[in-house]
Assembly symmetry: D2
Homo-oligomer: 469 residues x 4
């Protein structure tokens, strides 16, 4: 029997753990229940199909904020570019991904869907999907065994030979690869959106174990900018406000790391009147910070003076106990990077320090002399814990995923080999163009003469691959 791959932490885990208790739900496992949707459909396993109406409402609200994916649905509804696609999906299950799932179906695909995280399923949304006769296997609070059972139900079903995988973290891919290798060989393409999943795909590729083309949609331009720069520019402020009611004007803050996330944080904090410092290891990013009017320092130089410390490096132990020992009373400490390693929170779990939980995601850590620092989300991603990701950002990701599926499913033989690819720039541009109408932005078209002068196709792509935007 298959020994499951080690469990990967997924971004929403922290957040899910704070949202709502299950006290009002019964304790019977969905796997032991027998439920039937309105039209007699039973090929699903969720918490409670009776919640469908509430979930449908959530999906409808999400659609209003996801102009790109909805536009795609409309534009391609007649073409049905996914007719014949049989997709195993394994993602978070919430109102926004439901919009994606229903879009894939309206483009012609058949799907079976599981959750990529044991905590993040919105049960009412799963109910709404089931009510629409979509085979969905997911609920909040799955056990690890449940988790793999659900994915298995999506891969292995009667009269079902999947030909595409849409994955977020790589679990569906790996389960199929290990448990159903013959089935895996018939897959035409994998679309993967997470850092972790992409990493695993590149490793498979290196090890020559990847027998199908895969698309890394995590690093497409449009998605990257929205997931990092634009989204974090707003969520850093939103998170800190909701968690602490802090006033930003005049506060001194240091942002560790001046990548896209760090740039986003600095932009908005500067706009609200913070005095900003940046710590960087990369001289190019450090030079960018300088040219943006930010002082580049080592954390040590300002640690005694700053009011807010934000990590956005992707590295570990960027803020150490030594730093925290020197922070000033009331200093606010949080992490915007990609994991929970940036702040050495474990070093704070020592007898001489007192932890005082002020709110669900806010701890005061108190030194013997009375100094306290305010630690948010126990060092996990503060924007996922203390604020929410706007549907618009998800719309970008979802459109990217849908286009990657269309591209891989329809690509002529030979265009893609058994390797990991970035989304073609033209499709990246298409995702962007789908979202322009919501800003009432009017694109200029090249004339024939201009296109010729530039050596460009009028429909794009418009930039060389190394272009940095």
């Amino acid at each position: 029997m298959l020994s499951p791959p080690p469990y990967y932490p997924h971004v929403d885990e922290e957040r899910a753990s704070y949202t709502g208790s299950s006290s009002d739900e019964d304790d019977i496992s969905p796997r032991e229940k027998s439920q039937t949707a309105g039209d007699g459909f039973t090929d699903f396993c969720i918490k409670n199909v009776a919640q469908a109406a509430f979930g449908r409402r959530e999906i409808e609200i999400a659609e209003q904020e996801m102009p790109g994916i909805v536009a795609l649905r409309k534009r391609a509804a007649e073409d049905k570019p996914l007719r014949g696609a049989k997709i195993v999906g394994c993602t978070h299950i919430n109102a926004q991904t439901a919009v994606l799932i229903e879009t894939l179906i309206s483009l012609g695909a058949s799907v079976r869907w599981a959750a990529c995280n044991i905590y993040s399923t919105q049960n009412e949304v799963a109910a709404a999907l089931a009510e629409k006769s979509i085979p969905v296997f997911a609920w909040r609070g799955e056990t690890e065994e449940d988790f793999w059972w659900c994915i298995d139900k999506c891969i292995n079903a009667e009269n079902w030979q999947p030909n595409m995988i849409l994955d977020d973290g790589g679990d569906a891919t790996h389960l199929m690869l290990k448990k159903y290798p013959a089935m895996f060989k018939l897959i035409r393409g994998i679309v993967e959106e997470s850092v972790t999943g992409v990493h695993r795909l590149y490793q498979l590729s290196k090890q020559q174990k990847l027998s199908v083309p895969a698309m890394n949609v995590n690093d497409s331009v449009t998605k990257t900018k929205f997931d990092n720069l634009y989204s974090c520019r707003e969520s850093i402020i939103d998170s800190l406000k909701r968690a602490t009611d802090i006033m930003f004007g005049g506060k001194q803050a240091i942002v560790c790391g001046y990548g896209e996330v760090g740039k986003g944080c600095c932009q908005s904090l500067k706009g609200l009147g913070c005095v900003l410092y940046v710590a960087e290891i990369d001289p190019i990013c450090a030079l960018q910070a300088s040219m943006d009017g930010l002082r580049v320092v080592k954390l040590n130089e300002v640690i005694r003076n700053v009011d807010i410390i934000i990590t956005a490096t992707g590295n570990k132990n960027v803020v150490t106990r030594e730093h925290m020992d020197r922070m000033k009373n009331g200093a606010l400490l949080c992490n915007m990077g990609h994991s929970n390693t940036e702040i050495d929170v474990n070093s704070l779990r020592t007898p001489e320090l007192t932890w005082e939980k002020v709110r669900s995601s806010v701890d005061h850590v108190i030194w013997p002399d009375g100094k306290r620092i305010v630690l948010l989300a126990e060092g996990r991603l503060v924007n996922l814990t203390c604020s929410s990701v706007p549907s618009f950002v998800v719309s970008i990701s979802a459109a990217t995923q849908a286009l990657a599926l269309i591209e891989l499913f329809n690509a002529p033989a030979g265009r893609y080999k058994a390797d990991v690819y970035l989304l073609p720039k033209k499709m990246d541009e298409y995702v962007a163009s789908l979202h322009l109408p919501s800003f009432d932005a009017h694109l200029t078209e090249l004339t024939e003469e201009q296109a010729k002068y530039m050596g460009l196709n009028k429909a794009g792509p418009f930039k060389p691959n190394y272009y940095r935007y």
Copy 2:
């Protein structure tokens, strides 16, 4: 018997109505209870003195964010400039005002305190005050009759001839003036911080009924900037995020009114990537908007295109039903001005429109064709309803009030007549200086030679009265 003055709407009313239910509290009126604080003190009337510890904790947290008032407490603790002052206080009662009250006492004053609003009292804070033997008469959910009874208890008590009034809305002033005119004659000064209360004082003055000096602290420079420009710059973003999870980047917004509040809103929205329009009636403010890079338009010109409509005029019917009929689907509408009149909400209460409450302060108003606009706080002040006022802003107000009391109480005879005064600039500057250390800001001192050259006193005031900052 006194017929109570017409009830004045107070700013926190809207907010209070959404915070917490009274379901977990017993229903007996405080006036019918007999309570005793720890040391046998009984001269108070509050909900439940047993909540004192929790309230004390809130006060301590607030103190950490109120550097100015705490600094004043320390600096003046030995002087006791309010020794002999007997103050009738009538303000909101919450953690921040508790810091003010306890500061006044530590500066030498005796006080008796009531609430200026029937909804806004934090019961646990009132308990903490009572536990410290401070005569406080206030609870959340007073009847109007309770309201006046409480104020009366602060004015009229045994062995108590008050000589100062600290008022927020003018109710204590008016009650004393009408019901206890002899007592009122012995008052040495009134400090009033609200727009409403100041308006009432100016009217009294015009009618020659004001027999004591009063200080309008509402219009001091420091307080005005923090209450309006700096505070709203942050709260507009915070309110909209908390209420709707909106993404600001690329959104088109119009701000009606380019006074301090409007300027603050524009600054932060621009910083987050909104495309901004301003509507103005005053050509000077319109010119300022132009020079700040904002398009000045009539609301009608852009109403079909904007995603966000914010009112900040202080006027009425700035947004009419006609405007709302033309707004686009999903448009978000809110009020940052000083009352609930700016948006003609009543015009939306017609049979053909459907109201759908999405969250406590968020309504969708739906037109017959399906168009919906998102109305926040039913047109009341969105920043008070959907976010919170930072303690730092209250610290500025509180320090201003305390200094005004000190000034009026200690002023030599003749300095102030029976009129309404602005806070002397020197004290305005002092309030500012009390808050500089929290920004680690280091003030430069004039040399003797420089002071002489400028014709200034080295200790200030530094500007003529008409200076605009």
Copy 3:
């Protein structure tokens, strides 16, 4: 005979000394020449009437950038609100003031005009005025005796009893007051626009010597904002670029003084990526700087590190030799304040320091160890020396002056006494409104109902006098 009042330094003096030599002009004093304009007009004294065509061209270009004054000319052309006004004018004489002069005439006034500064006259513009039969007495490079002679010619002429004075510095006012006291008594109003002139008027008023109403247009809102905040925001950058080709990005700069000028400097330098510090004596302005995200320091704290030092205080010896001894190699030092006192330039004229003139307004001062600092304009106003004042800014001043003349000339008896007044807010607003069309800014009008609610006249004024904008 009249002993002339002490000579007052005027703002443009420094600038004039650098603009153009007189080498191409003959050396005969205009007073000894006999010139006749095209239509036989001879009541003028200027350098060379033959330059009129070139001057006319300059005036026409200036008109294009002075929308406000030109609009006023058009709107009031039929009313002729200055019919009967006989104005003695004493201002700089350049293309922009020529637009003002010709506007006054087209509004009905008779004028006689002299220069307020011996260096600042544009001879070709004076020629263009003379060619239009305007009595003008001014040339570049007057002697001090010429200076008073010219003003005298404007006051004392045949068939000429002036009734208004438009002054810039107070010289015309004082000459008339002292030499022609009887004539002065018949004056209906004085309009004065300079700091110096206003100061002299207030002193006269204090000494009870002012027998006519005077209007201080220097401190009107619109003019102040444009002369200081908006104009300096651009000219600081322009001046430093033209003088030194400096790259701003990443440079550390300190601005001494955070008034309107300092605020303007900081805004644009921040926008170009400078790291900024502010030095302040006034705690309110210091708090504003903090809330705007700027570090408030004493000059001493950062003097070793900053690349750019800008003074904007109006005070003296803000930058001392001691400071300059500690500046780093290559530091750039300049003055944006109101006089040449802010930097102690004299302290640099010592034997051990070498001065090296790099360009006309750029000196390198070199220390014995080779360190050099870059001193601009020898410590005088760098924006007047190294850049130019946009016509748009002058348009605001000119419109303000014209309206002040109209107001004083037409005011019913008793409205103004023999005192110094600020421009009525309504007129300040009118000046602003005249300039809105050039930004395509559309003002909103109050409804009757709204005006009533606010207690305002629909035509303004819209704010109380103490409003700070």
Copy 4:
């Protein structure tokens, strides 16, 4: 005999044509002169070696603003990494490139140098180089025949087999390739910095004619950002101010093209209070503009309203006669893109339009109805014509070129093939690090543990090649 390749327009051409006349120089061709430098050196051909002292002064001033290249000189002075390198150089010859040339020599190289442009040589700088016994062949105002003769003198000399080429435009490369193919085979590497030269190299490579490795330094990250984003952010303002004294506040401007140059222009114009529009063909860049708060429109939509039109696309006929016919009176039109094609200036040379030269680089084009538009630099690059490139920007380029030479010269056999390469990221990062000290920026170093966690070398490179910064 070699027929010279078609003449390529080089960026500085426009600028050079306006800087200074040659009236004070004699008219004898340098090729007919016999000159000897101080120490008997005669292997050069320049205008006048007697100007050496003035040129040396210029070089010394430039060194102060070129911290990176000077730091490199110091750090590598002992290593002499270019010992044995024999470099044919063909670049602009001015104070900044002189600093580069002398740095290469101090790193061990022998050089021979010619100009890449017939107008751009600073004669006094060439003199200073000759005086230091550097073989330099260049003067301002070469004929085309001179141009090729000079390059030839650098390639073909006694006892001189060059092994490296530093080229700007590709002329030295092509002359050697065509005329001295045997010599070309012995070249170890070519470093090329211009768009044109890089384009030619890629074409050679495609045609299999490139027999040596070449490095495209034009597209290194650091150089690109400084040449485009950071430099243009400042020069757009500087150029327009110097050319027209325009006031930016409140002006409406459209920037065509939102690449690095367009982004730079928008940033600074927004910072000075302009209302901005962007025109784009690329949906990704258009989305970026939207998220930066800029309205994305077609030029046609706003052409009647905007005050300033800026092209930054690299395309042709972006602004057509039709557009210009519709511009408003006084509209200001200029080009920041890479050539002189963006504005269809030729379409303005028709009989019904009048051209009026206002200053050397400012033309008013006047329509029959009197409307005039202000055309800068006749549509050529306005920042090169009307302002100057800061030495700091050149320091980045120069350091990049020097490092590319070091890399190619020292690379072990096989690292580079006969192809065109981008500068290795590690060297790109090194260039950045050389410039950090001038901003007092302090880089953080990875700990061993952190480097391992990230899978990075502590010394870099720190990012994957596709990273977008």
